[in-house]
């Protein structure tokens, strides 16, 4: 193979590599954009859910912090309040799923009432 042929082959090889790299890069970019669009779509449609989930997690964490803080204050009332905080946070999380609260009431067969709920 003479020198000219070798030089031509090297040029073709270099060109092919550049083309291959460009195609690859474009593919990466395209797939990145596609993924970005998917992510964007997902985040658009689930913003509320994600926010709620994140916030709930933060609340739970904060509730634990409060538990520690109140335990440090070491009054029984504060401890109690702190425990309730965690419990209610869990309830709040559960309530976000559908029909989470079913079964809290049923038909009463009693002729007597312990209290009346009429708003205030």
């Amino acid at each position: 193979m003479n020198g000219i042929r070798k030089a031509w082959l090297r040029t073709r090889l270099a060109t092919a590599m550049v083309v291959a790299m460009s195609v690859g890069a474009t593919g990466v970019v395209v797939s990145g954009i596609a993924a970005g669009i998917q992510d964007a779509t997902a985040s658009t449609t689930t913003t509320e859910t994600t926010t709620t989930a994140t916030s709930t997690t933060e609340s739970t964490t904060e509730a634990e912090s409060t538990t520690e803080a109140e335990t440090t204050e070491s009054t029984s009332s504060s401890d109690t309040t702190a425990e309730d905080s965690s419990a209610t946070t869990e309830s709040a999380t559960e309530a976000s799923s559908e029909s989470a609260e079913s079964g809290a009431v049923s038909e009463s067969t009693s002729s007597e009432s312990d209290a009346t709920s009429s708003g205030s």
Binding site: S65, S77, S91, A92, E101, S117, G119, S120
Partner: protein
């Protein structure tokens, strides 16, 4: 065991405590009075010496609050999360704008014009509570009135059970929490707007709760307009009175109250919104009763208005 009950006046409404052991009533009352006084001292908007008012001037730069106030504020934020911001703990200025800036008994005689206060960004998303460190932008004022009474019912009922081991039902103006063992014949609660109006009676599972939000209570005239105390944060004005009352049952009084209040603000969309969340009973302005989410259907025997069960997919 005989159950025993006591009623007293509290926060411009009526409190009622029922225990399933007669011998526990006096101790239970002592706990209730003490804990409710603590909550009032911490969260009242109407007393200058409450912690809520004492920290107001420093909340913009950040302030450490007591553990109890942190719990109450956190419940307010959770209520906002659960209701898409319809129950917002930062509506103090809006509430003042419609005239509810004092005890409701003092508001009734004041007829100055209404001022609607709306925040461009939901207030609850602008505040921050990390542990007990609170930051609230200066243009906002906390008002925990939408949730504090229900949270108080949960906390105090739970505290009585923990101390005395008895079954407890505590009603704070119709926000009803239960705790501890269930009485042999269960807890029974009547839901009714006013005497002579459609009534329903339900058995409440031990540990569960019922809360009612109303547009016919705590009403006053301001600037010639009829006001009530449930604000729509989107308008800064009282929610359109589509419903006279909404009653909700849930695993805590906090949840029941949050859902009931949000339902009032949802207006016509409330039955569908509630049906996916909790058993509920709604009464419209004509006295018609709608039940959703598994709330027991009511007998129409004593009523002259229709009662319907609505099912929402």
């Amino acid at each position: 065991m005989m159950r025993a009950a006591r009623e007293w006046h509290l926060w411009s409404t009526t409190a009622r405590l029922v225990v399933d052991r007669e011998d526990a009533l006096e101790d239970a009352l002592e706990i209730a009075h003490r804990e409710l006084a603590r909550i009032d001292m911490v969260a009242s908007r109407f007393r200058a010496d409450s912690e809520l008012n004492r920290i107001a001037a420093r909340q913009a730069s950040g302030v450490t609050v007591s553990g109890l106030l942190a719990v109450l504020i956190r419940r307010g934020v959770e209520a906002a999360q659960l209701t898409g911001g319809l129950v917002d703990p930062t509506l103090g200025r809006s509430m003042n704008g419609i005239g509810y800036d004092r005890d409701i008994r003092l508001v009734l005689g004041d007829d100055r014009p209404v001022r609607a206060v709306i925040s461009s960004r939901p207030g609850w998303q602008s505040m921050q509570l990390r542990g007990r460190y609170l930051t609230v932008p200066g243009h906002l004022a906390l008002d925990l009135g939408a949730t504090a009474k229900a949270v108080a019912a949960d906390l105090v009922a739970g505290e009585i059970t923990r101390r005395l081991g008895c079954g407890v039902l505590l009603s704070l103006g119709g926000d009803i929490a239960t705790a501890g063992p269930e009485p042999a014949d269960g807890w029974h609660v009547t839901v009714q707007d006013a005497p002579g109006e459609p009534a329903g009676r339900v058995q409440v599972r031990a540990g569960a709760a019922v809360a009612t939000s109303s547009t016919v209570r705590r009403r006053w005239l301001r600037g010639g307009e009829q006001m009530h105390h449930i604000l729509d944060p989107r308008t800064g004005r009282p929610a359109a009175p589509v419903w006279r009352t909404v009653s909700v049952a849930a695993s805590s009084c906090f949840l029941a109250n949050s859902f009931a209040t949000a339902a009032i603000i949802h207006g016509d969309a409330a039955p569908g919104w509630l049906a996916r969340r909790a058993p509920a009973r709604l009464v419209d302005q004509h006295g018609r009763v709608i039940t959703v989410g598994g709330w027991p259907t009511e007998s129409t025997a004593d009523q002259d208005v229709p009662v319907e069960e609505v099912r929402h997919g």
